[in-house]
Subunit: 141 residues, 2 copies
Amino acid sequence: MAKREFVTAKWLGNMAFEAEVNGHKIVLDAEPHVGGENRGPRPKPFMLVALGGCTAMDVISILKKMRVEVERFNVRVEGDLTEEHPKQFYNMHVIFEFTGKNLPVEKLEKAVKLSEERYCGVSAVYKKIIKLTSEIRVFES
Amino acid sequence: MAKREFVTAKWLGNMAFEAEVNGHKIVLDAEPHVGGENRGPRPKPFMLVALGGCTAMDVISILKKMRVEVERFNVRVEGDLTEEHPKQFYNMHVIFEFTGKNLPVEKLEKAVKLSEERYCGVSAVYKKIIKLTSEIRVFES
């Protein structure tokens, strides 16, 4: 039996909605120039959050298993939208930024590759239709 | 020039990350049985939030233009995950629940259809690879 996930969104008036996700509440809203009040983020960038969060959690847990200790770890996901409507992502780029002492770059690369190719269920869907690329940046602490 | 969107995620330690989306901060975390502390939602359901939020904002703004007044409006998005790894959505179902007085059902259906077929840039991507279905439920207030 396949697992079913669900989220709900309750209208708060105007363009704002309160989403409930795994028991946590998040407000979404539109920008003022389309009638919103910016009470929360826009919906579309959550496609990038799903990818960034999924691969970030994979990578940090793989590095833990490899006994690689990073001091800071940031992930940035950029997505390019088509000009024609409906505006949609056709390209996403993930930047992994690691900070630590003498970090083993080949292990960082391996962790990222394992997430992209084997573990991340969000990449697995997106890469069928969106061009996905990534890069690693390493900083000495 | 295509528009570029981005999000960032900063590691908070353990499995938790703080994402920044349109200037708003959201914590993501894993479940305790995989080493997290449930400080925030899991990443993958944000694929459902993106779809639900996008179509919900479309529908409420189309209904406003149609001068249809709803009292309450909830959207629920269900997604089925594959059993094989990496577990990924292969099916999503959107349930639109409208509450109001004598709501014009054909206009509600038209608003949903316009979002699905013309306006929602998240549906536009997902429907290339995921089976998307929807239903409308109308309640008299």
